[in-house]
């Protein structure tokens, strides 16, 4: 029972490099999310998707791009990494629904350091 799987778990980049973080969920969830977690600031929403082929901006979208080509996958890209993007990144997913009680299921995070 994998749930939400994030790849890779750790990565170190140099300023200006690019990379893609992969999130995969096996629960047939419609909605997927990318967050970043920084000390003392909780989790902040970067981008989210309400279904295959759709994406939308969250609170802190600048410097990131996303794609949802398949329902089970949500990719987060950094085109030109900056030290300010050093953070722990979490992916989450949830069922489609009209209510606001649906839990979000989180992966275990990707720890990214930009030098």
């Amino acid at each position: 029972n994998a749930g939400v799987t994030q790849t890779p778990k750790f990565r170190v980049l140099k300023t200006g490099q690019s990379m893609t973080l992969l999130c995969a969920q096996d629960m047939n969830h419609e909605y997927m999310y990318w967050y970043r977690q920084d000390p003392g600031m909780g989790l902040r929403l970067i981008h989210y998707s309400v279904g295959e082929g759709t994406t939308a901006k969250g609170e802190v979208p600048d410097g990131y791009n996303v794609s949802r080509l398949k329902k089970q996958n949500f990719l987060l890209g950094l085109e030109s990494a900056a030290p300010s993007q050093t953070s722990v990144y979490f992916c989450a997913s949830s069922y489609f629904g009209t209510g606001s009680n649906q839990p979000q299921h989180f992966g275990d995070g990707t720890r990214l350091s930009i030098l």
């Binding site: 929403l45 009209t98 209510g99 009680n101 989180f106 275990d108």
Partner: protein
């Protein structure tokens, strides 16, 4: 940006003590969720409170949603070392049909045996 402030930021107590964590905002939310996060893992949902004034209990944990749906509290009775972790509140707002979460700043609890 919706801002949820949690207090205290850090809490270290002895096993068996009681504690309360607060989550405050100037915004009204449709509901509020509490998560617990262990080191190296993602947050895990503990409870959702929906109605102003609602109280929910989960074993030794009691959650309350403020009457105005702007604040919430988490009370733990007779804390155990297994309660150690980062507690996060998250206000729920619906954007384009998605239940987007606005997370609080977190309370890191350590229960000493």
């Amino acid at each position: 940006t919706q801002l949820l402030e949690q207090s205290p930021q850090f809490l270290s107590i002895q096993e068996g003590e009681n504690l309360t964590v607060y989550c405050n905002s100037s915004s009204v939310f449709s509901s509020l969720q509490w998560y617990r996060q262990e080191p190296g893992e993602g947050p895990v949902l503990l409870v959702t409170v929906v109605t102003g004034g609602e109280v929910k209990k989960l074993k030794r944990l009691t959650f309350q949603f403020g009457d105005a749906r702007k604040d919430s509290s988490l009370h733990i009775t007779a804390a155990q070392p297994g309660d150690t972790g980062l507690y996060l509140c998250a206000g729920v707002e619906s954007w384009a049909g998605a239940n987007n979460l606005f997370f609080g700043t977190g309370t890191r609890l350590t229960v000493i045996p």
